[in-house]
């Protein structure tokens, strides 16, 4: 499928800020599941942008606005083609116990995706959910989908219930959150069971133009899901917010150990502590068709 993604971030300061600095991770990466066709970034006020690729392979753009300004607008546009890319059936049928043995043999490479982080603490998850989610004999694929569904069933999606700084413990206690919380929660469960997994930020097409009914969550802003490392090296995307594997309607932007590694915009400004933030994501399918 072909999408045009428009991601705008708009900061308005209560009083003009004298300096703003930020790193952006809003440039979709090429992968086995997608290809970036065009890409453009516009920052207002106009300012030079530096680019580099970070350790996780994400495109990072850095900008600073050194003069007084009341607003910052970041407009990232990309055309992306996504492909159907699913793991082989026999991999999904691997017994969990066998998978873990394979992971252990590659532990050095996978180590960072098995560790707790500040945002993905393992200890509270074990405290709240001491049950074992996986048995050695279970088949990997169905077991992962079951966990995906469990998060979907047990937690309420409620925009505004949490923010970036809400600790996972609060999410566990209140049983509600947003896609970012569900991704962190699922990572903590997976890692606590020795299954390597990473955080994915991206976009999702919420309304299928071909159908009328189904709606997916996570359209208005950046979306987040997880990827589990499967034996053989396939990173399998699972979206607990929508209870499904990531598919052609998911556009991946960046991957990392947790949100901090992939934050779409992370920055500081010098000015009074009062700002308004507006983030908008628009995903359009088949942009040329529309243009014609």
């Amino acid at each position: 499928m072909r999408f045009k993604v428009l991601h705008t971030t708009h900061y308005r300061y209560a009083a003009p800020a004298s300096e703003s600095f930020a790193e952006l991770r809003v440039w979709p990466k090429d992968s086995h599941a997608q290809r970036v066709i065009t890409r453009d970034l516009v920052i207002e006020p106009d300012t030079p942008v530096d680019h580099y690729i970070d350790y996780f392979g994400n495109h990072v753009e850095f900008f600073s606005i050194p003069f007084r300004h009341s607003e910052v607008k970041v407009r990232a546009v990309a055309e992306v083609e996504t492909f159907k890319d699913e793991p082989a059936q026999e991999i999904l049928e691997t017994a969990i116990g066998d998978a873990c043995q394979i992971y252990n043999s590659r532990l050095f490479r996978l180590f960072e995706y098995l560790q707790p982080t500040e945002l993905v603490p393992i200890e509270p998850v074990i405290r709240y959910f001491p049950k074992k989610f996986f048995r050695d004999a279970d088949e990997l694929g169905p077991a992962l989908l079951k966990l995906n569904q469990w998060v979907y069933d047990e937690f309420v999606y409620e925009p505004g219930a949490t923010n970036v700084s809400t600790p996972l413990e609060t999410v566990l206690k209140n049983r509600k959150g947003v896609c970012q919380d569900f991704a962190h929660l699922m990572l903590a469960i997976l890692r606590s069971h020795g299954l390597p997994a990473r955080y994915v930020s991206g976009y999702i097409e919420a309304f299928d133009p071909d159908k009328t009914a189904p709606e997916l969550i996570g359209a208005a802003a950046s979306h987040a899901w997880v990827e589990v490392y499967l034996p053989g090296g396939f990173w399998w995307g699972l979206d607990p917010t929508n209870n499904q594997p990531a598919g052609e309607r998911h556009v991946q932007v960046a991957v990392g150990r947790d949100y901090y590694d992939v934050a779409p915009m992370h920055g500081t400004y010098k000015g009074v502590l009062d700002q308004q933030l507006q983030v908008m994501v628009e995903l359009t399918r088949n942009p040329e068709a529309i243009a014609q």
């Binding site: 300096e19 790193e23 050194p66 180590f111 500081t268």
Partner: protein
């Protein structure tokens, strides 16, 4: 001529001997390296020795006072102790140390470089990858940021012990931000002054050039001929402040905090009142994860936004390299021999003390059985360890670390308590043995060197983890043999930075705001206390509504909108309490004083101790009043206290602080604030007075009150010797050149202070402000007072017959005054743009969103 015979004194008759004694051994025979020292000591009487130690203690105490921060010596001051018995390293030992330290430094430097690139040592399973990847100092954002030549650690140190059999061991690596070089230099200077005879019998390698070696090594990291080097500190503890201040001075570089630096166009600049100075080399003394909040999301330690991007683009060098702290990971000490072997291909010349991991069950068991003989240490002293573990408490004491070991064994190691060598220590008029540890420094430049000397500490048997503690049980001067002296041609000296750079913007800004806040506090407090007196003495029982507008004018002058706009409150007492004492009310007297204090505390190093003490006392007294139960009825007392104490502070500061450019910013802030608060009061009070002004002979209470509020009643009486007439009052408060409360007086003094700044260098950036201020004074002094406030007694003040002019309506008067106030506010913006935020460059470029 006959020389008096020297009687050798026996100071060591009762000295407890031990096999681990470096000087005497088990048998009491003086070992070779210590012959000269023992002999020199024996030539002194016991009384003489005592006198020498006293001399040393006195000089050390002075040093402590000199470098302790003002007002806080008692709590945190440096209790500097240096023993008169030095440590001597034999030529053989020094030979081993110098080779072994370089070997180890190069190996661990290579380890840091490897960890941030290929991780070959982990791939090849030479050491367990878990301990390397779990290191809290290992920060993924620094991958791919390798410093030039992979030089992660340019200057570092190792903590060494010498065991009874003469073997040296390394206890810890200190390769990220080691401290101690300044102590080495000071100790040598102190001992040489107090006991020069000690040095007469032996050739010792000099330590004085250490700071030169360091500054040359730093300079070599830039290709520019005259690079600008800064030492980046957080500057939050005395001990570190001492070291850094000393080093910066000796190297002729600037010491800066993150707020002094600014990133623009991918380059790092030092903000000074003369403009922006490009920085080439940053000698960092803060953790890597604290240098840039953008690069390390989730680290909440502040820093310089955008700095890491400049490093990535190669526009600035950070020394030691970002991420160098991984070499200090105590968990890898166990594998030090393997690491040295892996990267150098040779056997380690100096072994490492046994180190055990608590994460390994077998080792944990081993440790548990020997707990009393072990010292537990966290894997890193970094803040990032606490952050990763969400550790709220401290990690300083034994109990803290034991708690850490129970909860997070994977972040703890154990080392056996060693009984390393001992040396005589002179205390209580006799020599007693004491265990010694040593920190040896190296510079890993193009020609790696170990600095010939070291920091020997006499500590209890436990080698304390954490930052180097100098005030534990004293230090010893450490002597390397003269043959260890580093021979090299010195580089031509750098242009003294102080000639080029003048005062940092952060310092100027802090003083400016301190001046403004203290003036605001003083003005509000004085006006409040006058109103309180007026209320009781003159207005009698007149309804509070009469009294409210004046109070409101005072409140408006604080700049607080909620004060200014509120209608007559029911409870004026509560309103007054908030205005004076409420520290949470941003414009209150109390809050202003606190803001001033917080500004000054960020630049404590330049505040005279006397002034700092005066301000602290005021804060404490005010705090006492606001906490007292009857705070509401002690407002007059509080206000008077504030007025008097701020006057005392100003007097002390004027008398004891250096009157340099920085000081001028205190004055600029004070005068601008005073001018502004006068204007805020006058723009409310004068138009109202014009409305109610009648040419009657009655004394106007309002005008008298206004004169009192501005502290000008006496000035008025002396100047005019008459009752208060509106035009005269207006002239005195707006245009008088002699009345210290008049707007003109304040602006003229501000202009004078601006004129004294040495900012006329290449950039001449201060010129435009001077012109603006001149224009403002001109505008002020040409205000048509005669039309605004026609004199009922024109012939008295002005003998000329003036044509009758149209009188301005109160609304027009208000407009005149309001626009004057706006101009004064704009002056603040200009000062900020030119001197502090350096926005002046952009001042002419209209930006898209500028309203």
């Amino acid at each position: 001529m006959l020389k008096p015979a020297i009687t050798p004194h026996e100071h060591f008759a009762d000295y407890t001997l031990s096999a681990r004694d470096e000087a005497f051994g088990a048998q009491g025979a003086v070992s070779d390296p210590y012959q000269a020292i023992v002999q020199a000591l024996q030539e002194c009487s016991a009384t003489e020795l005592k006198a020498r130690q006293q001399r040393l203690d006195r000089a050390a105490a002075e040093l402590g006072i000199q470098f302790a921060l003002p007002g806080e010596r008692k709590e945190n001051g440096i209790d500097w102790r240096l023993d008169l018995f030095p440590r001597v390293i034999s030529a053989q030992d020094w030979d081993l140390i110098s080779r072994g330290v370089i070997q180890r430094a190069e190996a661990f430097n290579a380890y840091a470089a490897d960890l941030y690139s290929d991780q070959a040592i982990l791939k090849e399973r030479v050491i367990p990858f878990q301990i390397a990847l779990q290191d809290p100092a290992f920060n993924r954002p620094f991958s791919g940021l390798s410093p030039a030549n992979n030089r992660y650690c340019l200057v570092g140190a190792f903590d060494l012990v010498r065991l009874p059999d003469g073997e040296w061991q390394v206890l810890e690596n200190q390769m990220a931000t080691p401290i101690g070089i300044s102590y080495i230099l000071q100790n040598r200077r102190l001992l040489a002054q107090a006991f020069p005879e000690l040095f007469s019998k032996m050739e010792v390698a000099p330590v004085a050039p250490f700071s030169t070696y360091l500054s040359e090594a730093l300079r070599a990291q830039s290709s520019r001929k005259n690079p600008t080097i800064v030492l980046l500190t957080r500057g939050d503890s005395d001990q570190i402040f001492f070291e850094e201040g000393f080093l910066a001075r000796h190297m002729g570089i600037s010491i800066v905090k993150p707020g002094d630096l600014l990133v623009r166009d991918s380059r790092v600049y030092l903000k000074t009142i003369r403009g922006l100075e490009r920085v080439d080399i940053i000698y960092r003394r803060i953790e890597s994860s604290s240098v840039d909040p953008i690069a390390t999301p989730g680290s909440h330690f502040g820093g310089v936004p955008g700095l890491v991007n400049c490093v990535r683009k190669g526009n600035v060098s950070v020394i030691n390299g970002l991420g160098a702290g991984v070499a200090d990971n105590r968990a890898i000490l166990r594998y030090a021999d393997r690491i040295i072997g892996y990267y150098t291909g040779k056997n380690a010349l100096i072994p490492t003390a046994p180190t055990y991991h608590l994460s390994d069950p077998d080792q944990r068991e081993y440790i548990a059985e020997r707990m009393d003989d072990m010292v537990l240490k966290p894997v890193q002293d970094h803040l990032s360890l606490k952050q990763r573990l969400d550790w709220k408490g401290r990690l300083d004491t034994k109990a803290d670390v034991e708690k850490l070991a129970r909860k997070h064994p994977e972040y703890c190691v154990a080392q056996p308590i060693l009984t390393p060598s001992q040396l005589p220590r002179f205390s209580n008029a006799k020599f007693e043995p004491h265990t010694v540890f040593m920190r040896a420094f190296f510079i890993l430049g193009d020609e790696p060197v170990v600095l010939p000397g070291g920091l020997t500490r006499q500590t209890s048997n436990r080698h304390r983890p954490g930052r180097l503690s100098v005030n534990a049980e004293g230090m010893k001067d450490t002597w390397a043999p003269a043959s260890a002296t580093i021979e090299r041609d010195p580089l031509p000296p750098l242009d003294a930075l102080s000639d080029r750079i003048s005062i940092g913007s952060r310092t100027a800004e802090a003083l400016y705001w301190a001046g403004r806040y203290l003036n605001r506090a003083e003005t509000t407090a004085r006006q409040f206390s006058i109103l309180e007196n007026l209320r009781w003495d003159q207005l009698g029982r007149i309804d509070q509504k009469v009294y409210w507008p004046l109070m409101q004018a005072v409140a408006a002058a604080t700049g607080n909108e909620t004060f200014a706009k509120s209608p007559t409150p029911k409870d004026t007492r509560e309103f007054s309490r908030r205005l004076v004492l409420d520290a949470n009310e941003s414009a209150s007297v109390n809050a202003c004083i606190r803001s001033a204090q917080s500004n000054l505390s960020s630049i404590r190093e330049i505040i005279s101790p006397e002034s700092w003490q005066a301000l602290r006392e005021l804060v404490i007294s005010l705090d006492g009043i606001s906490r007292s139960r009857n705070a509401g009825s002690r407002l007059s007392e509080a206000s008077e206290l504030v007025v008097n104490e701020i006057a005392r502070f100003n007097g002390l500061a004027e008398r004891t602080m250096l009157h340099d450019d920085a000081w001028q910013f205190y004055r600029i802030g004070s005068f601008l604030e005073r001018a502004q608060s006068a204007l805020y009061l006058l723009e409310v009070a004068l138009p109202r007075a014009a409305e109610t002004d009648k040419a009657s002979d009655e004394e106007s209470t309002d005008l008298t009150a206004l004169l009192r509020l501005t502290g000008s009643l006496d000035a008025y009486r002396r100047e005019y010797r008459s009752r208060a007439y509106l035009d005269r009052v207006a002239r005195l408060l707006l245009q008088s050149k002699n009345n210290p409360s008049s707007v003109s007086f304040c602006l003229r003094n501000l202009r004078y202070a601006l004129g004294t700044l040495s900012i006329t260098g290449e950039r001449k950036i201060g010129r435009s402000i001077q012109t603006t201020t001149d224009a403002l004074v001109g505008y002020l002094e040409s205000l048509p007072i005669a039309r605004m406030f026609p004199s009922p007694l024109r012939s008295l003040d002005d003998a000329r017959e003036l044509p009758t002019v149209a009188r301005l309506q109160p609304e027009a008067i208000r407009e005149q005054l309001v626009s004057l106030t706006k101009e004064a506010e704009l002056l603040h913006d200009t000062i900020e743009d030119v001197f502090f935020s350096h926005q002046y460059v952009y001042a002419r470029e209209p930006s898209l969103f500028d309203a």
